[in-house]
């Protein structure tokens, strides 16, 4: 089943978020990276995973806006929040239940929060 009830899949962006504490906890967990790789391997084998990536700190971010003909750059993230996006995954699932199962298995879910956002399909 899928969103139109007639088969097919839905793509979901998994936004892996957490605050400082969550990030410290992930770093302190010696097996964290290995389990992330294991998750990615499993999801690749299941043909669920499209791509995945971890992000550098928001302090390394640059934001861009164009207003009129001016390009405005800001050093830092677009929003200064306690919880930041530390990584992402793009998965393709049969439905939300599968996306929930896949997401719940990601090791980051134990420390931070993973937001599941369906992609706007065109």
């Amino acid at each position: 089943m899928c969103r139109d009830g007639l088969g097919g899949t839905v793509r979901y962006m998994l936004l892996i978020c957490g605050d400082d504490e969550a990030h410290k906890a992930m770093e302190a967990d010696g097996s964290f990276l290995a389990s992330c790789h294991a998750w990615a391997d499993e999801m690749q084998q299941r043909r669920v995973l499209v791509t995945i990536g971890g992000l550098q700190s928001p302090s390394d971010a640059t934001t861009v806006r164009i207003r009129g003909d001016q390009v405005l750059l800001t050093d830092g993230p677009f929003a200064d929040t306690k919880e930041v996006i530390g990584g992402f995954g793009l998965v393709e699932c049969a439905d939300l239940d599968e996306a929930l199962e896949v997401t719940s298995k990601h090791p980051a879910a134990k420390y931070g929060t993973i937001e599941i956002r369906p992609l706007l399909e065109t």
Binding site: M1, R3, D4, L6
Partner: protein, 383 residues
């Protein structure tokens, strides 16, 4: 004839609406289209039945009419060729409205619809609104009135719910075995709240509010029939019947609530109590007690005592047996309405409420189940 037709359409609406909408959603995956075509079918019934007579099986007539309407609409809109093909393919001669389909083991679309409406990824208030709209057939205005919000607010809520189901890919299906208990708890939590909302409405309150108890019982009955292996479904139905049985005695002529111990027990509905007790016993025999069975057991103690003074919770075998086992299940977080339900947040859900069912015969089953604004994090079966 007109009065007869009106009555037949009203009855068919109550009995068939959920089934028809569920069938159409199953066919097309389009919730709005399903609702509109179901509505059209009832409008056609009002026009044609006075002339052609009331069909022998109104449900089958309405389902066929609604399905034809879907086909027309899809053809006219010239979109969804695949959908159309699908609809044609599935338009087999055996009517989904047919009872034979339900007993032959073909999963009932209404059950799918219940699980979809009550999916934990939807905020609790969305689950409640969606259940009333799609399964019970209440209008947006009626649901708004029942929950004391503006029609505009309720309308937005329903639109948002349906959009999320579509965009987020919430499946229209009966959950697989490993999710069934958790998802059933979510459905039970919604029905429990519906009953509570109606039960808390005073005698003078809006009829729509009072009718929520009847809707909750009707849906709980369907759920218990469709999920015979889930004793908590039977437990909830038993609980609702046992409380509903006391309805007539709950308020005096002035509309004030009468405490349980002062109620005229001869005014309790003996047949509802009997049915509730039988359902409870059948559920308990399965050996998997849960919070709703416990509450029903407590309610049964009260309902079967000839006088208030005769109520003996401690020595009642049923209550004791269920309570002991379920106590171990629920632990400190007693929270039957389900993980992800409303109970955890308020901490005053059915289980935490304990003997509230037997309480002072007033108000809700539990102090205030309420309907929270956001869904709580649910401890699912994934981790």
């Amino acid at each position: 004839m007109i009065a007869e037709v009106d009555a037949a359409v009203t009855r068919a609406f109550r009995e068939e609406w959920g089934q028809i909408v569920a069938t159409l959603i199953g066919l097309t995956g389009d919730w709005d289209l399903a609702e509109e075509c179901a509505q059209d079918a009832f409008a056609q019934a009002l026009q044609r039945w006075p002339r052609d007579g009331i069909p022998r099986r109104p449900g089958a007539w309405l389902t066929t009419t609604a399905r034809n309407r879907v086909t027309d609409r899809l053809r006219r809109e010239a979109v969804g060729v695949a959908k159309l093909r699908e609809t044609a393919m599935l338009s087999a001669p055996d009517e989904p409205g047919d009872d034979a389909a339900a007993v032959s083991g073909i999963p009932d679309d209404r059950l799918r619809l219940m699980f979809t409406c009550c999916h934990p990824a939807l905020a609790f208030e969305l689950r409640v609104a969606l259940t009333l709209r799609t399964l019970a057939g209440l209008t947006t205005a009626e649901i708004a009135r029942a929950f004391l919000v503006s029609e505009d607010t309720m309308s937005k809520r329903l639109v948002r719910a349906k959009r999320k189901i579509r965009n987020a890919g919430i499946p229209f299906r009966i959950p697989p075995a490993h999710l069934l208990a958790e998802r059933t708890a979510s459905v039970l939590g919604v029905l429990y709240l519906l009953f509570n909302e109606g039960y808390a409405a005073s005698a003078g309150a809006d009829l729509v509010r009072q009718n929520l108890t009847a809707e909750a019982i009707r849906l709980a009955r369907i759920l218990a029939q469709l999920l015979p292996d889930e004793p908590e479904a039977g437990g909830l139905l038993a609980l609702l019947l046992l409380h509903d049985a006391r309805r007539a005695a709950r308020s005096n002529a002035a509309g004030e609530l009468v405490p349980l111990e002062d109620q005229d027990r001869s005014r309790w509905d003996a047949s509802e109590i009997k049915e509730g007790v039988q359902l409870l016993e059948a559920a308990l025999r399965r050996g998997r007690p849960g919070p709703y069975q416990v509450q029903a057991a407590i309610a049964a103690c009260h309902s079967t005592a000839p006088e208030a003074a005769d109520t003996d919770l401690g020595s009642d075998r049923r209550a004791l047996r269920a309570a002991v086992t379920a106590g171990a299940l629920c632990g400190g977080e007693a929270e039957p309405g389900g993980r992800g339900g409303h109970a955890r947040r308020t901490g005053r859900g059915p289980g935490a409420g304990g003997a509230t069912g037997g309480g002072r015969g007033a108000g809700r089953l539990s102090p205030a189940a309420g309907h929270p604004r956001r869904s709580a994090p649910s401890s699912g079966p994934y981790g």
